[in-house]
């Protein structure tokens, strides 16, 4: 495999001290992030349509002796790395971006729901079709919501880009249904979903942009929300995160996929990303030099409230 060869070469030549990639999990359709440090382990390195974790998050989990690291990056991981570079969390020279062309991530919950005891070998992705037990289905109806609305499946900043180029399938507006609802029903939708939240913070911890040393959700002095999951406090947590991530969130959907209860949290972040795009003509993670809308101040700002 092209990816393994490239990764092995990087380790053998000592270009990097480690490679952040994926390997097989203990269950079908699960993959595990792994820091490959020995060229012999590279055999385990995989890239499948089930590599759903955003590896940019793991830059905060590197051992100290890992000065330069290569990251296997799909489009969203790549854009997350760009935001982290913009925010001075990582330097470009400490990174080797092993870009991979992403086919879109398949929602394993959808597969598990529809087919019982499905094995990973019974499923394969060929172009825009998903073949399950010999029957072809349109891939788009099994993709994660974040992938159905994705504009950039390959990283924009990279050292090497692997995989075959494929045309980007039409982008789906995953928010259209929700947008048509009156505000009251929209609120009811989020209230229904968030009432299941147990505040385990898996969404926050899977998010590459949530790297605060102390999260507002866990702050005691001052305390912004109660640790017990009342609907009110849960709303404060998720809306607070949404505000903090406006203009920074690359809409990778890692939060939603990390949620043990399957709450569609990313819906909120898609809406935030689209609002930022609409009002500030800005998309996070496109350009290292671009300044994010909420860290810039212009004296000639057309909005009078900010002057």
């Amino acid at each position: 495999m092209e990816l393994r060869d490239a990764a092995r070469k990087l380790l053998e030549e000592g270009t990097v001290q480690g490679i952040l990639g994926y390997r097989r999990g203990s269950l079908p359709f699960r993959t595990r992030p792994y820091l490959f440090r020995n060229p012999e382990d590279i055999e385990d390195l995989i890239f499948t349509p089930f590599c759903t974790v955003n590896l940019a998050r793991y830059l905060f989990h590197l051992p100290r002796d890992c000065r330069k690291v290569a990251v296997v990056a799909k489009g969203c991981d790549g854009r997350s790395l760009v935001v982290l570079m913009q925010e001075n969390q990582v330097r470009r020279e400490d990174l080797y971006i092993l870009g991979v062309r992403c086919p879109g991530m398949v929602d394993r919950r959808k597969l598990e729901e529809r087919w019982e005891r499905l094995g990973e070998e019974e499923v394969c992705v060929a172009g825009e079709t998903l073949v399950v037990r010999g029957v072809a289905y349109p891939l788009s109806s099994f993709l994660e919501p974040s992938c159905r609305r994705c504009r950039h499946r390959s990283p924009l900043v990279y050292d090497v880009l692997l995989g075959e180029e494929a045309p980007l399938p039409p982008r789906e507006d995953v928010l259209s249904e929700l947008r048509c609802l009156p505000p009251g029903e929209r609120w009811a939708f989020f209230a229904r979903e968030f009432s299941r939240c147990i505040r385990c913070y898996a969404c926050r911890n899977a998010c590459p942009m949530c790297y605060c040393k102390e999260c507002f959700a866990e702050s005691h002095m001052p305390s912004f929300l109660h640790p017990s999951p009342t609907l009110r406090d849960t709303f404060v947590f998720h809306l607070g995160r949404a505000m903090h991530l406006a203009g920074r969130c690359v809409a990778c959907g890692a939060c939603e996929r990390a949620c043990p209860l399957g709450i569609p949290i990313a819906t909120l972040f898609f809406a935030v990303a689209e609002t930022v795009r609409e009002h500030f003509a800005f998309e996070a993670g496109m350009d290292v030099a671009a300044l994010a809308p909420f860290v810039t101040y212009r004296e000639d700002d057309p909005d009078a409230c900010i002057q």
């Binding site: 203990s26 699960r30 913070y201 999951p229 043990p260």
Partner: protein
């Protein structure tokens, strides 16, 4: 694993009929295997140690604090759960909240009203490892009734509707299930696992074992045995003291008032989770505080497996 002579066969309808008019819940593991019309709970913990629980209400008036304890009701509740989950209640939660002094009043009241009804397992799920930690897919420990769903009907022991005794064909089928379970049972962890892990505290391999864990609380919150809680008041001069779940994976779990934190590093917190379940708790109470339900592996965002971690750490023991 055995088939008792007092076992009887009842129909699915009779089984459900027996619960009519009673307050019944089923855990997620059970309801994912049997079609049941009962409300679903993640684990028995949600009933006994709810995530949000008012311990007492308070208000400040005439320069004194007025405190009213809040007692949960002792209402009778039935819970259909898996054998591992019943063990989690009897062996772990009861040992901590009932059998230790002082007893936890609100837990004791809730526990008094709870009747466990075990639904035995006919196969090992992909993440199941109850037999590794001393459990069994057919254990009825702590339950008032035990039921096994088989192709010909429900095999029942203990409390429940009347039925007929199993015929020779049904006995044969039962034996087949038992034999299959016996063949596919994962072997127990080595006998001296708690002592060995205790010694292994300082080993360098923890770093690799713990790597990958995101330090979220999904595993601990959805674990049937994890019982750590936090007390947090709501309101200043009038309000309530709330008990809520806490997780050893959170950085502030061990934060002292002095600002010292004995477990600031994610690795230390992962190690704590393993050692508490597989070393400290068994050394004090005589049994693992992990019942091998495997839910933590199932819900983990990165498929981190506690079973593999323990296996790896004790692999040097034999």
């Amino acid at each position: 694993m055995r088939v008792s002579s007092e076992g009887r066969i009842v129909s699915y309808e009779a089984f459900l009929g027996w619960f009519e008019g009673k307050r019944v819940f089923a855990t997620e593991i059970v309801s994912s295997r049997l079609r049941l019309p009962f409300p679903v709970l993640p684990t028995p913990k949600s009933l006994l140690l709810p995530q949000r629980e008012v311990l007492y209400r308070f208000f400040w008036e005439k320069r004194t604090w007025n405190i009213t304890p809040a007692f949960p009701s002792e209402e009778t509740v039935f819970l259909l759960c898996a054998p591992c989950e019943a063990r989690a209640v009897v062996r772990v939660l009861d040992a901590v909240f009932l059998e230790s002094a002082p007893q936890d009043t609100s837990y004791a009241r809730r526990r008094k009203g709870l009747t466990l009804f075990v639904v035995g397992c006919t196969f090992f799920g992909a993440t199941c490892f109850c037999t590794r930690v001393g459990g069994s897919p057919l254990s009825s420990e702590g339950a008032s009734g035990f039921v096994l769903s088989l192709p010909f009907g429900m095999y029942l022991e203990g409390e429940g509707p009347e039925g007929r005794s199993p015929g020779p064909l049904e006995k044969e089928e039962l034996e087949r299930v038992l034999e299959h379970l016996k063949q596919s049972a994962p072997p127990p962890f080595p006998e001296r696992t708690p002592e060995y892990l205790f010694q292994a505290f300082g080993e360098a391999s923890w770093e690799e074992v713990a790597w990958g864990c995101l330090n979220c609380g999904a595993c601990t919150f959805l674990c049937p045995t994890c019982f750590c809680f936090d007390l947090a008041p709501e309101g200043r001069l009038r309000g309530a003291m709330i008990r809520t779940w806490d997780s050893c994976q959170f950085p502030k779990f061990t934060l002292h008032a002095s600002s010292h934190n004995p477990r600031p590093h994610p690795l230390q917190r992962v190690r704590q989770r393993i050692l508490h379940k597989f070393s400290y708790f068994p050394l004090r109470k005589g049994c693992f505080s992990c019942v091998g339900c495997g839910r933590c592996v199932l819900v983990c965002p990165v498929n981190w497996s506690i079973q593999e971690a323990v296996e790896r750490m004790v692999s040097g023991a034999q």
